[in-house]
């Protein structure tokens, strides 16, 4: 066996982020608490530089490297850029929240950066092992992030739940992977696909079992019904800054993970996993939208809304067509941007010693700060899928994929639940615009400079992407179809 020097170029962004994360960890250790902003600045600069590197390396061809365990293709490039952008926004929103609570620690950013690295590896994994390692790097960083406010018992409880269920899901995933390895004799995604094509059409029980375990594990990680129990508890218990993080960028990575595993690897078994995803999608749409109505905590409400969005995401993937994958990709990017803004609004309303995590805290926002009430209005209508916000085109795209795959009934189920969903988004709008502020919270609120700018840009982006959706849609089509 002769050793070849692998082509490092496609993985330069990953190596850069890894190096920077280690470097920042060391630098942070020598900084006094008063100068945590240096860490923050370095992390953000790393994200910007990584985006620059990814853009620089961007190309239409698919490049495999490290003995075919790592892939760089247009989908990877675009999803990575989406991850950088969302993470950048998240760190920006998180900073004032952490500072006000005296938990502005370097660990938050460094763990966040490691999680970003994990996502990048998930996005570019071309081997069951690389995919698994990326997922674990992301998961372990996320568990630590949720637990990172040590003095807060609810956060600790949430972290425990998250860890136990996450570990279970990882176990299921490994079990499924081992079965697939056993039946195909390879960990390489492309080889697995080739083996599956070559295999005869008769029902292969161990393979289907392996597939079931894979799907269940991914459903766990994404929080699809019936594997969603941890989502509301963790979203609610974690500090808002952390919820902001785990609710946004990791979903983009999970989409890539699903694409690599199910579509590129298990693609020939589409007929098998389509049925499973249909069940998950319908249940997620139903449970997510219906239970969200009963919530009084906005964090729990958004958690259930995330579950419903995952249902829509599945609709795009299960169609099994290129335009379906592209629409799911569009959906997940739009979701991440909108959710970042939504949780960012909670940060904006919270103050030291006061978490604005109840829906009632949004009462009368139009009187306290009309501009940000308008921004939140845009974000909520985008989540509900009402034009002219970008959320509408995301729903249009996945419904189009479902109808294109002759699943008109699924499209109808989805739109019915999206009407039910519209109700709880509207209820928040109603509280912001039609109700008076709560007692003791009548005074105007004004966020700090950077947060205000970023939130405004975030909200307007949802509107502008809605008026000009062509660019992002073309990008996702280019990423999948070429």
């Amino acid at each position: 066996m002769n050793f070849e020097i692998p082509n490092f170029l496609p993985a330069v962004p990953e190596m850069f982020v890894l190096g920077m994360a280690c470097l920042i960890l060391v630098i942070d250790a020598f900084l006094p608490d008063s100068r945590r902003d240096v860490t923050y600045g370095l992390v953000q600069a790393t994200l910007v530089a990584a985006a620059g590197l990814t853009l620089w390396l961007m190309g239409p061809e698919t490049v495999l490297t490290f003995s075919d365990t790592f892939v760089k293709d247009p989908m990877a490039d675009i999803l990575k850029i989406a991850v950088y952008v969302t993470s950048f926004l998240v760190f920006l929103y998180a900073r004032p929240y952490l500072m006000e609570r005296g938990i502005h620690k370097g660990e938050f950013y460094v763990l966040g950066l490691f999680a970003v690295l994990g996502m990048m590896i998930m996005i570019s994994g071309h081997n069951l092992l690389t995919l698994y390692l990326g997922l674990e790097l992301l998961s372990l960083s996320s568990y630590a992030l949720v637990a990172f406010w040590r003095d807060n018992s609810r956060a600790t409880e949430a972290a425990m739940k998250y860890f136990v269920l996450g570990a279970l899901a990882s176990g299921l995933l490994l079990y499924g992977m081992s079965m697939i390895y056993g039946m195909t004799g390879s960990l390489d995604i492309a080889v697995i696909a080739a083996e599956l094509v070559a295999a005869d059409d008769s029902l292969n029980i161990p393979l289907v079992f392996g597939l079931v375990f894979l799907v269940v594990a991914v459903a766990f990680k994404l929080g699809a019904v019936p594997f969603h129990m941890w989502v509301p508890d963790v979203y609610d218990g974690a500090p808002t800054a952390v919820t902001l993080f785990i609710a946004t960028a990791p979903k983009i990575a999970a989409f890539a993970f699903l694409m690599r595993l199910l579509v590129e690897g298990m693609g020939p078994m589409h007929a098998d996993w389509q049925g499973m995803l249909i069940i998950l999608a319908v249940l997620s749409l139903a449970v997510g939208n219906v239970i969200a109505i009963a919530q009084t905590s906005i964090k729990r409400m958004l958690a259930y809304s995330t579950i419903a969005h995952i249902g829509f995401l599945f609709m795009g993937i299960l169609a099994g067509t290129d335009s379906g994958y592209a629409s799911a990709m569009f959906y997940v990017i739009v979701y991440a941007i909108t959710a970042a803004g939504g949780f960012g609004m909670i940060v904006f309303l919270s103050r030291k010693g006061y978490e604005a995590d109840q829906i009632d805290d949004f009462k009368g926002l139009a009187k306290r700060n009309p501009w940000f009430a308008f921004i939140m209005l845009l974000l909520l209508f985008s989540m509900a899928g009402v034009p002219p916000t970008v959320g509408f085109y995301a729903k249009l795209a996945v419904i189009q994929a479902a109808v294109g795959a002759d699943l008109v009934w699924l499209a109808i189920v989805a739109v019915i639940f999206s009407i039910i969903g519209a109700f709880y988004y509207l209820r928040v709008v109603k509280m912001m615009f039609f109700d008076d502020p709560q007692k003791g919270a009548e005074e105007p609120v004004q966020p700090s400079g950077a947060l205000a700018t970023a939130l405004s840009i975030n909200g307007l982006a949802v509107l502008l992407l809605g008026i000009f959706p062509g660019l992002l849609l073309s990008l996702t089509h280019y990423a999948i179809i070429g």
Binding site: L396, I419, L426
Partner: protein, 504 residues
């Protein structure tokens, strides 16, 4: 000379951007907001006049077309154009918006800049919806206008405004999402979102019926037809005057427009099969809702129910076409019914706007909409009483007013179809006279009912102007409807020729 100008884009974006400008400039300066809002509304109205004068009569082609690529991934284009059906509705929109802006001058006191902005943005969205030739573009405008209306009812509405506005939003949203699925299905079949391509699509019967029902959900809620009309009285009662006017004068017309643009030409065979259902529902709206209107004690609610009954005429006129054809083999009568429905829509735009404004005039003074709180208003407000009686007569369909023309045409068409349909439709002349004249009797005539009424002051110049404008158009359309019919004829004939072809 105007044919190449992007007039439609101007009409859409001038009020939308103007609305945001009003918001930015007038937030702390109500006077600026009012004047700027009026300037934008008038400018839009003036800009819409070339549509009327430069419109080429005698062709069913889409005119003033604009085309730009918008979402290439789905073959969706920013494609605008008007024909004889949409052009009059756009003019109605620009005119009514001016009326609404002037009507809000004094009666809206809270957050006037936001109110003006919402109205102007809504105007742009409604024009966009009428002008859209691309189904996605249409749907975007169709849905987007819910947002400002939701806020207008919810912020400036009456005591039960939250209930009413949520009901309004969810009802309309419920109807329209099924249409979205139908539009996407047709896109998958035709590879394009252009509405004309949908018209040309050959569709099987089962699919046609499903598509027809999806459109029915969307447009029947909007227009509204019995039995999905219940949101309208609530929304009308709670909405501020301007909101009621926009709702009655324009938003209801969107349902009728949708039937003509989508249901009839895309699914003619399903329409022919299901026309009995549509005719029955229309007759129920005309007769039953007319009776319901009789017993209302709230003026706005009474006018809201009368709107539903009048809209029943519109749907009746549209869907008589197939019945007439199967009875007589004559498509002339079909054209008559559809044209009658169109005239009725435009006419109702003026009359209902005027009726709601009249209630607004009274409400601004006494803060009550209850009929029982009034009586003998003619003694203190003679000018107002004169206008009120005029519009009441127009509402009952008195010859010489616009209300007569549309109803007459539809009843005439109904006689070609079936005597009993015509008979039931004609009961509206009695029922409308019943509830409207009884309203006039109780509110306007009689002795002065109480001290509040005794202290009323007559209309000011602003209110006089509003009523005068609407009265002018009501009478003009009543005595000389030919120009309007001229504009619509070619398009309607083309539509009838189109639906005569089976698509199976």
């Amino acid at each position: 000379m105007f044919a190449d100008w992007p007039i439609l884009s101007l009409l859409i974006w001038l009020p939308i951007l103007g609305g945001f400008l009003v918001l930015a400039a007038g937030r702390d300066a109500p006077h600026v907001a009012r004047r700027l809002g009026l300037a934008v509304a008038v400018a839009t109205f003036v800009a819409s006049l070339p549509l009327w004068f430069a419109f080429e009569r005698g062709t069913a082609e889409m005119q003033f077309q604009e085309l730009a690529s918008w979402i290439p991934a789905f073959n969706v284009n920013y494609h605008l154009g008007v024909d004889g059906i949409s052009m009059p509705l756009i003019l109605l929109t620009t005119l009514i918006t001016v009326v609404v802006v002037v009507a809000a001058w004094e009666s809206v006191k809270d957050r006037i800049a936001y109110y003006m902005a919402a109205m102007l943005v809504m105007e742009g969205l409604m024009i966009g919806m009428f002008a859209a030739m691309d189904a996605v573009l249409f749907y975007v405008f169709f849905e987007a206008m819910l947002i400002p209306m939701f806020l207008v009812i919810g912020i400036w509405g009456g005591p039960r405004r939250v209930y009413a506005t949520l009901k309004f939003f969810l009802y309309t949203f419920l109807g329209s999402v099924f249409m979205l699925v139908a539009l996407i299905w047709m896109y998958i079949q035709s590879g394009s979102f252009l509405i004309q391509d949908f018209h040309a699509l050959q569709i099987g019967m089962t699919a046609q019926i499903l598509i027809f029902l999806a459109f029915f959900m969307a447009f029947a809620v909007k227009i509204p037809m019995f039995p999905v009309h219940t949101w309208l009285p609530d929304a009308h009662v709670e909405a501020p005057t301007g909101g009621s006017v926009i709702l009655a004068a324009i938003m209801l017309k969107i349902g009728g427009y949708g039937f003509l643009r989508f249901s009839l030409p895309i699914t003619p065979d399903a329409s022919a099969v299901l026309d009995t259902l549509m005719i029955v529902l229309s007759l129920i709206a005309i007769v039953y809702i007319g009776v319901v209107a009789l017993i209302q004690s709230d003026m706005k609610k009474l006018i809201a129910y009368s709107s539903i009954a009048h809209m029943g005429f519109v749907t009746l006129g549209f869907f008589l076409a197939f019945y007439i054809y199967s009875n007589t083999g004559d498509w002339e009568g079909a054209s008559l019914g559809i044209a009658g429905g169109m005239v009725q829509m435009i006419s109702h735009g003026f009359i209902s706007a005027a009726m709601f404004l009249a209630v607004g005039v009274l409400y601004d003074r006494l803060h009550s909409r209850q009929i029982a709180d009034y009586g003998g208003v003619v003694n203190t407000m003679p000018w107002f009483a004169a206008f009120f009686v005029l519009f009441a007569m127009a509402n009952t369909g008195l010859p010489g007013t616009s209300g007569f023309v549309g109803e007459f045409m539809v009843i005439l068409a109904a006689f070609k179809a079936d005597f009993w349909i015509a008979f039931l439709a004609a009961t509206t002349l009695i029922l409308a006279a019943g509830y409207t004249l009884w309203l006039v009797k109780r509110v306007i005539f009689g002795a002065v009912a109480n001290d509040n009424v005794a202290g009323l002051s007559d209309m000011n110049r602003r209110e006089f102007f509003l009523m005068g404008v609407l009265a002018f158009f009501t009478l003009l359309l009543g005595v000389w409807p030919a120009p309007l019919l001229d504009v619509m004829n070619a398009t309607i004939d083309h539509l009838v020729a189109h639906i005569a072809q089976s698509k199976l």
